[in-house]
Point group: C3
Chain length 104, copies 3
């Protein structure tokens, strides 16, 4: 892409239980993230059907576009805090962002 | 990324008609997927305005993070089964996942 | 991936204010996009808590899978039209699409 002011960033996606929303946001903001996007979701994870009541949005999908050190910090903190006891999956992708000053 | 236990996987995204949800999930699980995430969506596809009633979530957005052979199996099966008769689009991306044992 | 008829495309993701939906769609279609997917979202952007009323979907998440020239056209037009006055963030990723004739 040759568009204006594009820079490579990381996009962190977290799928987890809806009940964790407020707590998760505190963690993400505590890491220094300037923005995040949350959507309701449903599905099935490795813990089986626990989160798959049809038509019920018991999961959330959280996205954070940020630089690599912040992405690593977020991943480490969420892994430490939630992996043992909650249904959570996370993945990371490379993205080109416009207006990268928006993303630390 | 140098975070703990990251491994390259494929993220398959499927956008299709909401009425296909149960059937699609059966297909995806039949392929061997251990998890998937579904969100409600709306939009317009190549079949025109069919799915674009404003404010109405007539589409679903399904994500499956998995290894390459499983991604190919899912893509082939869904293509075979739905492409001729339904509004469906699919794309695949590389993602780094944490805890890759969660994703076959 | 070696699946049938896969081709590299760009996936443009736009996160912005829900009130812009109709106008944004006109712009995207005006650029020549054949399809797009919209989900409701909530979150926080660089303009602070403005869009983060808990449980309220005041944002939208719009995805367009398209070729590189169209992606650049969309990014430029949306940047020109909305960046000065609205909460909007955009990022671009490489994706492999099936049935690439669906995506200009």
């Amino acid at each position: 892409m040759t568009g204006a002011a594009q820079t490579l960033r990381k996009l962190v996606t977290v799928i987890t239980e809806a009940q964790l929303e407020r707590d998760l946001i505190k963690e993400i903001e505590g890491c220094g993230a300037l923005g995040y996007t949350i959507s309701d979701a449903r599905g099935r994870g490795d813990k089986g059907v626990r989160a798959s009541h049809w038509g019920h949005s018991s999961n959330i999908r959280v996205e954070i576009a940020c630089d690599t050190p912040l992405a690593e910090k977020i991943l480490s903190r969420l892994q430490e805090k939630y992996y043992a006891h909650y249904a959570i999956v996370m993945w990371v992708q490379d993205v080109e962002v416009l207006r990268p000053d928006k993303f630390r």
